[in-house]
């Protein structure tokens, strides 16, 4: 399947004096799931709306394989998207909602039933959206995005309101798309929600890009810390020094920085050091994410915030 990547270049949006998105540039590769992350109000939704031609950028471009969304013929057959779980007419049935879009997507009623089946809403197809739970609305949004069997899928906060089983199901679905060579872009304000789904991350804060890499690249930013208890702490320190890991002590335990639990355990085992406890306390990715996206310190607070950053 010929799939298209997404290229965002110099994208900027100003609302009066407020700059919501500021010279944003990143690429989304085909065949991978990319997480588009940032705290609430960081400009994620505005970026996605510019990507999809709903909001006119002040400057810059966002293209799918070189073509702007608004210039794609029958765009829903190339790019499927779901932006808000609330954008349904409450008085329309789930099937009715899909049928209002089907003519322009270019699909028939059979396909509407097919995507409802795919997202597990077949039973609720004839019920009005008014009675749908948040999770069901998310599924209907996903069905809408999939209606045209697109190569590119753009979802805004798709895990919101899904129960844990729903999140696992969504993860498998998105992984499946990526494995078949499609491009998947998923936004979220919670890294943990998409951590086990995404291959790449694009992180923005205050409308600017703060980080873009593979998930492994983000993990490299996490501080590694292993807590070791041993009757012979001096031997732990010696082994750590030999491997070039820094050590400190909190009295009862030795803290080893710069290595993973398996690395420390393996080293101490080969050295024959007796261990009573070994705990991997690597800083969570979520903390890295928080650190990256926390507001920049104001000039006067530089000293207080400096240590954290």
């Amino acid at each position: 399947m010929a799939s298209r990547g997404i290229v965002v270049d110099g994208l900027t949006k100003r609302f009066g004096s407020v700059t919501a998105v500021d010279d944003l540039g990143f690429e989304v590769a085909a065949g991978r799931v990319t997480g588009f992350l940032g705290p609430n109000g960081s400009g994620k939704t505005t970026t996605l709306r510019m990507l999809l031609g709903l909001v006119e950028p002040t400057a810059g471009t966002a293209t799918f394989d070189g073509t702007r969304y608004v210039d794609l013929p029958r765009p829903a057959q190339h790019v499927g998207s779901a932006l808000e779980a609330s954008s349904f007419h409450p008085g329309r049935t789930g099937l009715g909602h899909l049928r209002t879009l089907a003519p322009q997507v270019g699909v028939d009623d059979a396909r509407c039933h097919e995507v409802l089946e795919l997202v597990g809403l077949s039973e609720a197809a004839g019920r009005r959206v008014l009675g749908y739970s948040m999770g069901m609305r998310q599924r209907l949004g996903l069905a809408t995005a999939l209606l045209g069997d697109p190569d590119v899928i753009v979802l805004d906060e798709p895990a919101n309101g899904l129960d844990p089983q729903g999140i696992v199901w969504l993860r498998a679905l998105l992984r499946g798309f990526a494995e078949r060579g499609r491009t998947v872009l998923v936004s979220s304000h919670v890294l943990a929600e998409v951590q086990s789904t995404v291959d790449d991350v694009v992180i923005i804060a205050g409308g600017r890009l703060v980080h873009a890499s593979s998930l492994a690249g983000l993990e490299d930013l996490a501080e590694r810390l292993v807590v070791v208890r041993s009757p012979t702490p001096e031997r732990v320190e010696a082994e750590a020094a030999r491997h070039g890991w820094s050590v400190s002590t909190d009295g009862a335990s030795t803290l080893v920085r710069g290595a993973t639990g398996p690395q420390v355990g393996s080293a101490l085992f080969s050295a024959g050091v007796e261990l009573h406890q070994l705990t991997d306390r690597s800083v969570e990715l979520e903390e890295v994410f928080l650190r990256l996206t926390s507001p920049e310190p104001a000039p006067g607070q530089g000293a207080a915030m400096g240590e954290v950053a």
Partner: protein, 271 residues
């Protein structure tokens, strides 16, 4: 345009609103038509002080009742037409609509055509309602139902056309004023309050009469060629434009609001 129109027709008929408003329209028109037909039927036997009829009789009475659809009924296609747009903004389905069709002129065009379809449906319903409610009364107690007279057939036929125009005006207006509450307030306020007063003033003050002709309700009466309002205000339709003029004025309202919708409201970001 074909798929866009098909989508708009599906949007229109996939919620309950269209038949709820149709039901209210039918009930309201039936009631007023019955009351007016009865009062005209029983009033024709009495005469004014100088022997001249105070109220229309004969085929005039029939035409007056049958043209009720316009002053009484037109608010319904206007309201429903406006909801083709305002409902999309209220429920944020405009996002999904523009995702499947980013060309906003196509969206507007499809809604205007869907509005015409809606107006034709409402027009046929309205005509059927006034005929079924009024004709038996006029036929049995009045001067006759005049169902086959050319004046009656003309009023009934043009009513359907006028309803289509009202609905299209509603669509274009809703595209301009996308806030549903604001659109309803303006439409109800204008049709039930502003325009009747403006037309009454126009019929009393000669210098204002040419201006009042161009009000949408007056233009619609011009298309029908008779008016429930003017038959009682002592007029004979002399204050109205010719039929083609009325049609042009209605189309001008559609064009002006559609242009405002396209170049003011639909140019904005959809957030």
């Amino acid at each position: 345009m074909g798929p866009a129109l098909s989508a708009e027709v599906r949007k229109l008929f996939s919620t309950r609103m269209w038949w709820i408003i149709a039901l209210v329209m039918v009930a309201y028109l039936a009631f007023i038509a019955l009351v007016l037909a009865a009062s005209l039927a029983f009033a024709t036997t009495s005469e004014g002080p100088r022997g001249a009829p105070l109220v229309p009789g004969g085929s005039g009475a029939a035409a007056t009742v049958y043209s009720l659809t316009n002053p009484i009924g037109y608010v319904f296609p206007l309201l429903m037409g406006s909801m083709l747009f305002t409902a999309e903004f209220r429920h944020k389905t405009i996002t999904g609509s523009l995702l499947v069709e980013p060309r906003r002129s196509v969206l507007l065009g499809a809604k205007l055509v869907a509005g015409l379809v809606l107006g034709l449906v409402y027009g046929v319903l309205a005509v059927a309602t006034v005929v079924l409610a009024a004709a038996p009364v006029l036929g049995i107690w009045g001067d006759g139902a005049y169902l086959t007279s050319s004046q009656t057939l003309s009023v009934l036929g043009w009513t359907v056309v006028v309803f289509a125009a009202w609905s299209a005006i509603g669509v274009a207006f809703g595209g301009f004023v996308t806030n549903q509450v604001a659109a309803i307030v303006v439409i109800v306020g204008f049709t039930q309050f502003v325009e009747p007063i403006a037309r009454a003033v126009g019929s009393l003050v000669d210098s204002l009469a040419p201006v009042a002709q161009f009000l949408p309700g007056a233009a619609a009466d011009a298309v029908l060629g008779t008016s429930a309002l003017t038959s009682f205000a002592g007029g004979s339709g002399a204050d109205l434009l010719p039929r083609w003029g009325g049609l042009l004025v209605l189309l001008a309202y559609v064009a002006v609001f559609a242009a405002l919708a396209r170049w003011v409201t639909l140019r904005r970001d959809v957030a």
